[in-house]
Symmetry: D2
């Protein structure tokens, strides 16, 4: 889940259940009622340009420190993630979001054949970045590849090259359909939300539309009144059945939440043609 | 879940999935796929008369230390429990099973109105036992009341008085249907499994029947061949649909697994008529 | 440690080592170099009247979430505590500070014979407060006794009665010198710091004096320049050898940090003469 | 610490204080009184050829599960380690001992300039082993290099090449004195204990001598009576001042504890002359 909008208490975004657009999503995704019990994390921009992260292997609803902290933290840009491990250890350093400098990154999905590909992918990471890798997951590998390929300068091109590189390596080893990914990245100002899979059968991704319009449609929803006009949510699953509230990010595309008008751009991997 | 039988590796009971009678139960109950994510615990008898306990607030399937330990521990009497918190903190001291001396105790269910009743119940605990209470749950309160009322001498009578005392206190305060409980207790030799609720609408409780008979019925099940004749499981939910494999512990009764023949006895609370 | 002053980043108070008045104290007290490894906690006032608490059984210097959070939290009133267990379980609910409503409480020291006294003390806690006790420590018992005896109305009188009650119960049971305590309480506006022991051999307690004066004495200390004039620290041990920086809270007294002039008042327990 | 001898309860090795040769060492090394608070671990051989490991980031003395487990585990070959982080994250996967197949590995010391060298070192790990690396430490890198260079066939030669390789890479980058290491490895039958540093100023390493002889010298020590003749301890620091009890492993050598007579062999790194 990504929240972008006026600074609000993180608690209101994560734990306040009444009239919340995201409660259902979080309730299911943050470990209370589903199999997503392999850790959670939030990242948020507040004081200074570097976002803070709070990650844990305990189920989010059980983490009392998380609940305490969210009562005190105001943020206009929050990432929240619940992890379902695909085999790598359940430990804090493998929880999302990942951070590098002022960038946050999170990923739902998996790199097929990662155990086999891991070494190739890790050694393509820029040597100056390599020592900063702390965990052992495919998601962090994707992040560091994207950083290697220029995430900080041109996020869409960098992610396209990172994904293309993974596909290239997988092809070399005969691994079919290696990439399944919804991913989000932010520099604290804009958010890039990617939906892509090699097989073009990607997990769903939705973003909320104009709050002004929603408010007109749903005057009974108190929470909508308190949200600023530029509020946006990005979520994996359609939430409440509010007609007009959610727009699907199309297959193979990238949604950009930014100052000014949001955008949806097509997303296709590019082969970086690295010689290892 | 309770296992009683020949000493086997705890790993075989808890994590070996193939041909396991209990895999389904544990898979659902130990945190991998359900809402029971508020901690787990095992207790087992091995070296010496005092059982060991391993309890944690991490989901059981994620706890690497648990998996390691179960590869090294042989036991003929194992309790395993997954906790769904009913409001008290998620911390190790609130996880089941509970232990006192050579006794183990675990409980599924809840004491209705516990927040209101807690003080009355705790001050009925024998003063010499009181300081040993480590957690803050209704389940541990029931255990210490049962100990107070003679668990070590006459388990059924003691639990009857403990439950009766809770019902008496609840009545005084106008709390309806206070007790909902399946409970198990053991001294390392026998296991007492209780099924009771004030409203006589108790959670289910099953125990496995004679393994010899099962083996005849299901010659294809490899695991059955390795189990000794006196193997017994006690579980909350019917497992595989093996006709003849499971017998329901009836409403308001106590099943006793013991050397010699097992027994089922009726269970009714008695009012201890304590003057506080 | 208590900080009272202009809102500052918690990180600056807890982790910034350079030129910090409190670094030495925290470095030793927060688990990096001493035996105080049984958990830590911070409590702070920020958004709203209810303070937030962050407590953990990991050593403070290892807790990455703590470090992250402190980069984002500004507070003008912070409690920090490192626990050395005196026997009760090492679990979050036993870490300091404790909170009730808008009050924070922490304690260094011990109640002698607590295992023996626990039931008497807990029984004297107001029944309406009793269910809110979450842990099992002498420190939390003292807090709830103080709340029972009116902490929210008259902190010094309430703590005097709480301590007196403990001494009375200890006397009944022949336990000598039961109370050893430096304690701090706050409602978010003032801080009461107590130094008392039955044997009148109390652990030390210091508070910082006027920052203006310190600044004149130590123009070379950068940190002093950034602190507001009303900044106060309360600590257990003398820090840097800054002549004039620290004033010892005398034996059997209570220091009050409050808007306007600070005060030191004598502190003597009173026997509440409860009939149990 | 390494214990090799008759199977004993792990509890007796780790926690029983009375008359214990190793109590002092463990008391200081397992987190109760020193700065070594960044996690601990034990590994032991018991059921089957694969050793079990129990590792945690909590201080060892606070880990109730550890204490429980040690009351139930008998082992004739135990590794115990307390970690002092040199910068890499404090998480279970970075705690010692490390395991691969039937091998255990632990390390005290550091690889100088590891942040800079990490990529070169990891790249030299055999690609078939690479994906099994779970943590991010220099110690695990050394282990996987030793495995790459044939630890399972010729431990001393393999460690010599691993250390030599690290020194070679460090030289290429101008990093002086890169290796500081006492290391222990075992396959469940023998134990190899290395003492080496590039600067030939290695941390100390001691092994206990013949217990029969010790028993004669110290008839008053009860614990010695219960130990079998082939009992050996390897420790970092001299323990009790028992004349004749401890023999220092010399600088640049490897002690081998094995069936039959123990050995001390000189240890010198060899340059594997890898072309990267």
């Amino acid at each position: 889940m990504v929240y972008s909008g006026e600074p609000v208490l993180a608690e209101d975004l994560l734990f306040k259940p009444e009239h919340s657009l995201i409660e259902q999503s979080l309730h299911s995704r943050m470990g209370a009622t589903t199999t997503n019990g392999d850790g959670f994390g939030i990242g948020w921009y507040g004081e200074g340009p570097v976002p803070a992260i709070f990650k844990s292997v305990e189920p989010a609803w059980n983490d009392r420190n998380l609940r305490e902290v969210t009562t005190q933290v105001r943020t206009g840009l929050l990432f929240a993630h619940v992890r379902a491990s695909t085999g790598t250890p359940v430990q804090r350093s493998n929880c999302h979001p990942f951070r590098h400098g002022s960038w946050l990154w999170m990923h739902n999905g998996a790199v097929g054949g990662f155990h086999e590909l891991k070494r190739d992918l890790m050694f393509a990471v820029d040597p100056s970045l390599y020592p900063d890798v702390e965990g052992s997951t495919d998601s962090e590998a994707l992040f560091f590849l994207a950083l290697t390929f220029g995430l900080e300068d041109d996020p869409i091109a960098a992610v396209a090259r990172a994904v293309g590189f993974v596909e290239e390596q997988a092809e070399r080893r005969g691994i079919p359909n290696p990439v399944q990914a919804t991913m989000a990245a932010s520099d604290g100002h804009s958010v890039w939300a990617f939906r892509y899979s090699t097989a073009h059968q990607s997990r769903t991704l939705y973003h909320s539309t104009n709050v002004t319009r929603l408010r007109e449609l749903h005057p009974e929803l108190e929470m909508l009144r308190t949200l600023s006009d530029d509020t946006r949510f990005v979520v994996s699953e359609p939430l409440r059945d509010l007609p007009g509230a959610w727009r699907e990010v199309p297959e193979s595309s990238c949604g950009i939440i930014q100052p000014g008008d949001d955008e949806i751009r097509p997303f296709e991997p590019t082969r970086p043609a690295l010689v290892l």
